[in-house]
């Protein structure tokens, strides 16, 4: 590292859990040479390299794109999903946001529907199940009319886009006091509810996705709003309201 002067000394408390059935505990590590330019994940890489060479098991954590779009990364840092910065995934969080000497507690996303696999790695396949239950528009390849056949007002298209930016990271579930996945679910329902292509299946979609959500063991939404502030894509609570509206509509439609 180039400028030794401003390296950070940090105390890390990291959740270590060998496997799904292990009880798990917080383990302390001291890191004295953290560059402020490192991303949070690079800091973990750095710690892992040390652990490996010392003959210890590295900390398992998920990541891939490291630029905030794949949704693979995520942990609860000092009690906050993806750390304290708003609109940021863990991979985009940089160590310059931490103070020298700080103690950082790193835990996995916790929810019954997201069982822990190892250390910070959790099983988020429940999200796929929710999508499977109706998060699509039923159109076979080759069946599509010309792309400009249905004009869609820019305002609606933009709202649909905002909802569609969800990266499926699960931070909303981790932050929700009820471990509800309603923000994730509502983002998908909203995207399709706002587009004319999505209307024909709207009622069926919302019913079956909500039913699946419940079956998977997520909690119900009680409108705390923690999800939206934790969401790295800042998905709006308006989407949950829209989902509720769609659900109510589906009660009266056939």
């Amino acid at each position: 590292m180039s400028s030794n002067g401003n390296l950070l000394q940090l105390k890390l408390r990291v959740w270590r859990q060998k496997g799904p059935d292990d009880a798990g505990k917080l383990v302390e590590y001291q890191l004295d040479d953290v560059s402020p330019d490192m991303s949070f994940l690079e800091m973990l890489d750095h710690l892992n390299a040390k652990l490996i060479l010392e003959g210890q098991e590295p900390i398992a954590f998920e990541h891939d794109c490291r630029e905030g779009i794949c949704g693979a990364c995520g942990a609860v840092v000092n009690g906050m999903s993806h750390g304290q910065e708003k609109g940021t995934t863990l991979c985009q969080l940089h160590m310059r946001k931490f103070r020298n000497g700080e103690t950082i507690t790193i835990e996995p996303f916790r929810a019954s529907a997201f069982p822990i696999i190892k250390d910070l790695v959790v099983d988020r396949s429940a999200f796929d199940q929710i999508i499977r239950a109706g998060g699509y528009i039923s159109v076979n390849t080759g069946n599509a009319p010309d792309a400009n056949a249905i004009p869609i007002g820019k305002d609606k298209a933009d709202l649909a886009f905002d909802a569609a930016t969800c990266i499926g990271c699960g931070a909303c579930v981790a932050a929700c006091p009820n471990a509800s996945a309603m923000l994730f679910l509502s983002a998908k329902v909203s995207q399709f509810a706002l587009l004319p292509q999505g209307r024909p299946e709207a009622a069926r979609r919302v019913k079956s996705m909500v039913a699946m959500h419940d079956e998977l063991g997520f909690g119900s939404c009680t409108n705390h709003g923690e999800c939206s502030t934790a969401c790295p894509k800042e998905i709006s609570l308006a989407n949950i309201a829209r989902l509720n509206r769609e659900f109510a509509k589906s009660l009266i439609s056939v």
């Binding site: 794109c65 190892k118 080759g142 004009p151 007002g153 399709f192």
Partner: protein, 640 residues
């Protein structure tokens, strides 16, 4: 000579004729076939969905925890199509021509034309799926222009086009999962292709949660496993991207084409320290307003604001007065390398150049610049902690895309019968250089509109043979492959040296970047060819792989991939050495025009180099596919 199976007839009619002539599988019989798809990026997800819709049984594997995380998710800029909505004179022909020319005349005409033909269907399909493309106030789709084209043909969804397209393909696939037609196997890393009686009949994969090595049998195998840019360690690719699936297919007999064609993107965030794990792409559009410069004098360590105009070198404007900062990707990248090699690079590492917006801000005002690039500036500040409105950005080129890949014929079949390659994992459409917004187009073209037809032809033809030589997990080849993979895993787990897998990967990457990156020489390549085996040896002697096999073990996964990179790198270098010309992403310093531009040698090298595997450390055997240009005229690029 390789047979690319290009249909006869005029270019514009080849695909239609081909579709008419190929055999179809009886709809009732489709459910008797199982197709294995590896990968859930744009190519894999679209193929899985479309094949399942046709009635085939599809098994789809991915090493991700969910299909939606495939690297396609990260594509930013957009996707091309010849819709001509802006009425600016675009046609299928023009898209075809731009792609061929952009590829520096090293791509197959027939494939590229087909790609341009189906490009419009892709946009229709995606819109029908609910992909929220940008629209204008009239409610119709918006377009923007991209490098290498004079028309506006790029469809986009803000800076997240890849994400939106992938989510579209993913949802189409999940619908088939719900219908029971796609069996989705996540957290499965394919380790080998299994060939029985001369045909690809399945794969074996490691269950990444419990380490089980699982056999998967099928009637055909489709690889859509992405590119190999991570052989350079640092790249804009996602961390997990790797060559293993393609490389192991190569080891089983599939030829690997043009591995030396690697695209290096000029505007990425520079390396900041030796712990850096990946590079981030900054949109190329920044070069519209930013001015690229470095200090005139070597070792000038003054902060940029204190360097007077007289001591700055706006080298792109100086060398290319007419294109200036807007020269193509490869030219911009190479020149950044030259100035840094001269010791004039900036930043802590000396491996960066300035991209300065001061003049643009003075000319147009900060608000205008903010409106154009606000989100990019914000991202830059988030990562670097520097405010680009005040201090010039620091940028540097980075490995971005790999044009090379498994050799495939017109039907996207590799040299192994029944084994197909789609998307970035094949070599087919981009020649020696890919134009912006064309990879997404190709991935979806392959998956939605090509493979559903061409695989039917194979299955209909091979039907009798496939049934006669049916396979089960007990078939000898499967058992052998499982055993091989188990042995290899054990070998990796036994590594108990003094170095992390990453440090060795980093060493390989540095070597490749220096000697086989933006600009290559015979000596440099020979040096690399000599060093790679040493690094490989170092790996097998001195790497350390902790943990056990029967659990989630990310270091083990990494080690397996790096082991393949260490073999595959040699193939890249061999290809680069043999191609004694410069074209697209492959620049050999010995072959340049007096102005320093890439100098092609069409007489000798207008062919696809497809390599056949001969063993670890053994030179591969070259097979050529002649490239015939019957519809376009070969020209030399110039950006002066």
């Amino acid at each position: 000579m390789l047979d690319s199976k290009i249909p006869a007839g005029p270019l514009t009619e080849k695909w239609d004729k081909h579709r008419m002539n190929i055999k179809l599988v009886n709809p009732a019989n489709k459910r008797k076939f199982t197709i294995l798809v590896v990968g859930t990026g744009l190519a894999g997800a679209s193929a899985s969905a479309s094949l399942a819709e046709l009635g085939y049984n599809v098994i789809t594997l991915t090493y991700h925890d969910t299909p939606r995380r495939a690297h396609s998710i990260a594509a930013q800029g957009g996707i091309n199509a010849a819709k001509n909505y802006p009425n600016d004179g675009d046609t299928i022909w023009r898209l075809f021509y731009d792609t061929i020319k952009g590829g520096d005349f090293r791509a197959r005409e027939a494939n590229v034309y087909r790609l341009a033909q189906v490009s419009n269907n892709i946009i229709d399909q995606c819109v029908a799926q609910g992909v929220p493309f940008a629209r204008d106030y009239g409610g119709l789709l918006a377009n923007r222009s991209f490098g290498g084209a004079l028309v506006s043909r790029t469809f986009y969804a803000r800076g997240q086009t890849g994400q939106q397209l992938l989510l579209g393909a993913y949802s189409a696939m999940m619908r088939q999962v719900a219908l029971g037609k796609v069996k989705l196997m996540t957290r499965r890393e394919m380790l080998d292709v299994v060939i029985h009686n001369g045909r690809a009949r399945g794969v074996i994969a490691r269950n990444m949660l419990n380490g089980q090595i699982e056999p998967y049998t099928a009637d055909a195998v489709v690889l859509a496993t992405g590119g190999y840019g991570n052989v350079y360690f640092l790249s804009t690719n996602a961390k997990a991207c790797n060559v293993s699936a393609a490389y192991r297919a190569h080891k089983k007999g599939a030829f690997f084409a043009n591995p030396c064609y690697v695209q290096i993107h000029p505007t990425c965030l520079p390396v900041h320290g030796d712990i850096q794990s990946k590079l981030t792409l900054m949109s190329e559009s920044l070069r519209n307003d930013g001015r690229v410069w470095v200090p005139k004098n070597k070792g000038d360590k003054r902060p940029p604001a204190e360097i007077p105009e007289a001591d700055r070198d706006y080298y792109l404007e100086r060398k290319y007065p007419s294109f200036g900062n807007l020269v193509p990707r490869d030219v911009a990248s190479r020149n950044a390398k030259y100035v840094c090699d001269e010791g004039r690079g900036v930043g802590e590492t000396g491996l960066a150049v300035y991209l300065d917006f001061a003049d643009a801000i003075q000319r147009d005002g900060e608000e205008t610049i903010r409106a154009k690039y606000g989100n990019l500036f914000h991202m830059y500040e988030k990562i670097t902690g520097e405010n680009p409105y005040r201090v010039p950005m620091k940028i540097f080129p980075a490995v971005h895309y790999t044009m090379g890949g498994l050799w495939v014929d017109y039907n996207l079949m590799t040299t192994v019968p029944g084994l197909y390659a789609l998307g970035e994992c094949n070599f087919s459409d981009h020649g020696a250089n890919r134009l912006g917004a064309s990879a997404l187009m190709q991935g979806l073209a392959d998956g939605y509109f090509v493979i559903p037809y061409t695989i039917g032809d194979y299955l209909a033809t091979a039907w009798g043979d496939l049934r006669k030589h049916d396979v089960t997990p007990e078939t000898a080849e499967f058992k052998d492959a499982v055993k091989d993979a188990t042995d290899k895993t054990e070998k990796l787990l036994a590594l108990n040296g003094e170095r992390t897998v990453d440090s060795i990967h980093r060493e390989l990457g540095m070597l490749m970047w220096d000697k086989c990156g933006m600009s290559r020489t015979k000596e440099g390549l020979e040096e690399a060819a000599a060093k790679i085996p040493q690094i490989r040896e170092e790996f097998w002697r001195n790497a350390k792989v902790p943990g056990r096999g029967a659990e989630l073990n990310q270091e083990l996964e990494k080690a397996g991939r790096v082991a393949d990179f260490l073999e595959f790198a040699e193939l890249i270098v061999q290809d680069a050495l043999h191609r004694e010309e410069s074209c697209g992403g492959h620049f050999r310093e010995e072959y340049q025009t007096p102005e320093g531009e890439a100098l092609r040698n069409d007489e000798e090298f207008a062919y696809v180099a497809a390599w056949e595997y001969n063993g670890v450390g053994e030179a591969a055997t070259l097979h050529k596919e002649e490239l015939k240009f019957e519809n376009v005229e070969l020209t030399q690029r110039s950006y002066k």
